[in-house]
Subunit: 439 residues, 2 copies
């Protein structure tokens, strides 16, 4: 049997997710609203046979202290559906994964847009289900406060059931389009949904043919207990954020076990940890690149990021003291826990924590193509992942470094494809096309 | 001063809006979900310097009798934002106008998507504000019945105020992106909205830079009194559906007068009646094409269309009797009134009415390029329009006939541009770029 290979997604923000990236030499500070740059990135990733281009999203200008906000390139950007649909028209094989909120949107709209993107792209769309937890977003949608963590997951699960039900409104062969008899659609191959649940009441059918993939690829990033469970039951691919190999292995084993317990083939849910790749011609050069990048983060941006991630404004704390105990908030628990344990472990002051968090503080492989490929291979072979959701430290250089250096090394080792296996994102990821459950 | 010229939009459904079109020789019955066809149509229209590609929309599989539904190609189609964004990537100058419902969507989402499409397309997006009136759509969004006509317009007006307010979140020059100092955005050039009204509570700011056009072009199709008033106060372009010249002149005068009364330059609101163009090499040939097309409409499709437009199921009526008095419904009043008066005037049976309505029963210019150009010129010079929203009887032939025959004739007469005047839809339509009212 062929060697197990990595699946690679690209986790994109137009300028990079690193706060200092827009000031990095050669960067495109205007990429947030410059489609030509996005087209170039997507085409290079496709040349490198990446599985998917994943567009992260926010539903608000995040509430940072002004001195951080004014330095941030991440608060504004293209809306994911418009961006990915435009990219669909100028690419042929790469998957296109968009975030869709189950908290601030409605299932008929979401089902329709992903189905439409799937048709336009010939079966390359994916839905990253997020249960948005940002209180600033709530205020843009007429909600004073935010739903409880568990309530968000209950709504997310019902939302998923409605959306996938709507995708099954028509059988794959419902549209007969028989010019002679004048019958366009076989109504015996169409069904209404007639869903009535605690959160949604949706009649259906969806006014769109079944997507080429049956269902667009389902992506989840569950970290908490209900998040992992939702992912295990529903996701084709999971984004996660372990910091160390052992943590990655534990997460991988837990989600695969939950998937099996839910009656699924564990191989049909791909676990993709986020990995920040900084490639250089030597390890020292790569480390120096990262230091130069981090030096471009203003400390006030760091305070802003830290406040956002903790769900708590840190500007009132002593910057040179330790992180005090925080009251519970509605922010993502797992993010908060991670930062708190991280700060306690390394005994960091608020200022030190801000510098770290303000740039990027998660899993990073910093080195040569060879050392990076070593790490990726180690994770794959140790059952800590099925691939990675790659983050680029700066663009375009960081992306070009991965495409030109790391990908060829992975291919040499037989760890990554040299050509796409199929036409659809499901075919490339190696996850099955769902049967229509309804008609 | 240069001669006044026509503005031309293309009112598109992928297969055409005529129910029989998918069976017409050479048609693409699968165009609903075949992006290559849509790309071809958009590029041909751009070659002909059309102002805009307008994508009509529904938010449901319309509730027709099964025998009509199974014959309909118009119940399913691409979702407009995904389609127009994809077209933005493969065109350069043509405007891209999408329908956005104020009844079943939320202003932060709508503001974001149009702004994003405007950035991706370099200033070519337009928002056709619709106050959706279809009860089938309501059932897909958890509403048992539908909002009252007047309540829909009150909500639409507030929705518009919020969306345009959000587009003004940032000054045009807010993004300074000063790499040296590290300041990305000038916060004195950003403002929150803090809107609290009867229908919406939206804090803002929008997480997207001000659109290239300031605001995407605002389109309305108001026919009723509150509809006309909303259009006169807010629209850059108005779609309307007069059947005869005198009716067009009355509508034109009324909306221009209302715009002036609202303090606007009447020249900055373009009135574009829908016109169904059937071009042939002779008038007889064009008439024969239309007859052949209408013959492809099954009478049961006609009953379905008639039921939808009346907001009342006609299947219980005697098909060979006259239209009885109808109880009031929540369907569009103006559409209902038009059909009723049409039926009474010509003393049509239900069956005759169904054949007419099932195909296309509005304003049509059927003839040679010369006679069609005569009619268009007559309407322009009689102050019945500023241009037309062109409907093609069948695709691609009907579109190619207009591009290859009618447009050259209009250009010869100096009635239509030979090259785009500008880069943005506003520049081509000749409507001003709005000043930022807020920051």
């Amino acid at each position: 049997m062929a060697k197990r290979q990595l699946k690679l997604g690209a986790f994109m923000r137009p300028v990079s997710l690193h706060t200092g990236a827009w000031r990095y030499p050669g960067a495109y500070p205007d990429a947030n609203f410059n489609f030509e740059h996005m087209k170039r990135f997507a085409r290079r990733l496709e040349e490198a046979t990446f599985d998917a281009f994943f567009m992260a999203d926010h539903l608000a200008v995040l509430n940072m202290p002004p001195d951080a906000l004014k330095r941030s390139h991440t608060v504004t950007s293209f809306e994911p559906f418009t961006l990915l649909s435009a990219l669909a028209a100028v690419t042929e094989r790469i998957g296109l994964v968009a975030t869709g909120s189950t908290t601030f949107d409605l299932p008929y709209h979401v089902a329709r847009r992903f189905a439409s993107l799937d048709h336009i792209s010939g079966g390359r769309s994916g839905w990253n289900i997020v249960t948005t937890s940002n209180p600033d977003a709530a205020l843009n949608f007429g909600l004073d406060d935010h739903m409880e963590h568990d309530a968000r997951y209950a709504r997310a699960r019902e939302f998923y059931d409605v959306v996938t039900g709507l995708w099954d409104s028509f059988a794959d062969d419902a549209f007969v389009r028989d010019v002679e008899s004048g019958v366009y659609v076989d109504l015996d191959r169409m069904t209404r949904l007639d869903h009535k649940g605690p959160h949604f009441s949706v009649r259906g059918p969806l006014n769109i043919a079944r997507p080429p993939q049956g269902w667009p690829v389902i992506v989840q990033a569950g970290a908490s207990d209900p998040g992992r469970q939702l992912a295990a039951e529903t996701a084709d691919a999971v984004f996660c954020a372990p910091s160390r190999l052992a943590e990655g292995q534990a997460y991988y084993a837990d989600v695969k076990r939950r998937a099996a317990a839910a009656g699924r083939d564990p191989d049909h849910i791909k676990i993709l940890p986020g990995a920040f790749l900084v490639a250089g011609d030597s390890v020292e050069q790569a480390q120096e690149k990262r230091r130069a990048l981090d030096a471009l983060v203003h400390v006030h941006s760091g305070f802003g990021s830290l406040s956002t991630m903790l769900g708590h404004d840190v500007s009132g704390f002593d910057p040179d003291g330790p992180l005090p105990d925080l009251p519970p908030t509605n922010a993502s628990r797992s993010t908060q826990d991670k930062i708190v344990s991280f700060a306690r472990q390394e005994n960091l002051t608020i200022r030190q924590l801000a510098h770290r968090v303000g740039g990027y503080s998660g899993l990073a492989f910093v080195g040569t193509a060879r050392t990076i490929a070593d790490s990726m291979q180690e994770w794959l072979e140790a059952d800590a992942c099925d691939g990675f959701n790659v983050m680029f430290p700066y663009l375009p250089e960081g992306l070009d470094d991965v495409v030109d250096k790391v990908v060829p090394e992975l291919r040499r080792r037989g760890l990554f494809r040299t050509a796409y296996e199929g036409r659809t994102l499901r075919e490339n990821l190696g996850v099955p096309r769902p049967e229509n459950r309804r008609v």
